[in-house]
Symmetry: C2
Subunit: 232 residues, 2 copies
């Protein structure tokens, strides 16, 4: 975690302070690695989806456990930090927030895996017909920018950049509406299966973006001390 | 939280011990209330869905913030408990686990709200055609049993009952497969819109059940100290 301070902290032994900062840095490092991993996972899952690339799909599925493992490491490190350092006030808030962020990142990895599994299930056919490809390309691009922002924010917090995630989430929602509009058009030439795949895939990207917004909100909360509304 | 002990705890002042137990009881009480609320929300959302009951749908949507509020109360109480009591070992594990359980319950409330919103969006038409109603009825019944188990488990932990949640989750997955089978049949008389609604609704119940399993796993972890595999 970055060295955020929103007010005077408890007086502490200087060595303890350094140890605590080292713990936070370790948690921060793990979460940046997670953010980069879930970004890469969604990039690869999208490639699998749009080019019916089985190898890419399988790589994403095989590697999801790495993100789960990083999440477990964050949880263990946070528990260890609380037990050893007994943080209070903003220090405590920071380590508990790390738990939430890590859980969101883990879920983003799961959603990338869901996209990859859909691509794999339909292989060698493409899961997404040509008419829907530009929409998914658009959703994937915004989702990728969001994941990139999160990785940057975890390394260097910035309330303005975090707030931008909300706008990007609106773009994703707009693209999802466009997706439904295409599928519900009278001229839609495909059957129920393609529509179902399309709807679920749209939801995977949309949920991925929601979790990215959650991470941004948690970071804004750390920076400003003001909670932001619930994302559901 | 129930008075779980999996080994000798740190020596503590007896008053502190009592205070800590009182804190846990308060967290436990909040979570039981949450579990009951999300159970009631999904019951009512299902009623809204299967009988096109607009009033029931709106009641669920209006009351979701209550579960969010309870989740915030759990988070605040846990942070306060950690700051005041500086728990370690199994005590610390217990309060951190409460955060995870509360987050799962909050998400279950969101999913009930999603079902209600779908019912509302299609009103006065039913969102679910007659052919799919028995499957959703089945999913809703199992989901309801799972929510009931969780409320009971939070009040009185029982590793065996918690493990049973996994089997119920399998039933839900089986019903979801059945749902897809019906919609993908050549004789399926409805268009893309109904199939999309059906698929997303199926996923809402399935995710609700997944979160119930997560809660069960967290409780087993508290009881046995053994982590159970990741649910994704």
């Amino acid at each position: 975690m970055p060295p955020l301070r929103d007010g005077p902290t408890e007086p502490r032994d200087e060595d303890m302070r350094e140890e605590f900062q080292a713990d936070l840095n370790e948690v921060s490092r793990l979460m940046v690695t997670m953010a980069e991993a879930v970004r890469e996972a969604m990039r690869k899952a999208t490639k699998a989806l749009l080019t019916a690339d089985l190898k890419a799909a399988e790589a994403v599925i095989e590697r999801d456990h790495e993100v789960d493992e990083l999440n477990s490491q964050v949880e263990a490190k946070v528990a260890d930090t609380i037990a050893r350092q007994a943080p209070v006030a903003s220090d405590l808030r920071m380590v508990i927030t790390a738990l939430h962020i890590s859980a969101d990142l883990e879920r983003m990895g799961d959603l990338a895996e869901h996209v990859a599994k859909t691509a794999k299930r339909r292989h060698p056919s493409p899961a997404v017909p040509a008419e829907l490809r530009p929409v998914f390309q658009g959703m994937a691009e915004v989702a990728d920018q969001m994941a990139e922002s999160i990785a940057n924010l975890l390394a260097k917090p910035d309330a303005e950049l975090a707030a931008k995630l909300e706008h990007q989430d609106d773009e994703i929602d707009e693209l999802e509406r466009k997706l439904f509009k295409i599928m519900l058009d009278d001229d839609w030439p495909y059957g129920a299966e393609t529509a179902i795949d399309g709807a679920l895939l749209g939801r995977f990207y949309e949920r991925y973006a929601d979790h990215a917004v959650n991470v941004g909100e948690q970071l804004v909360y750390l920076i400003t001390g003001e909670p932001v509304g619930d994302q559901s």
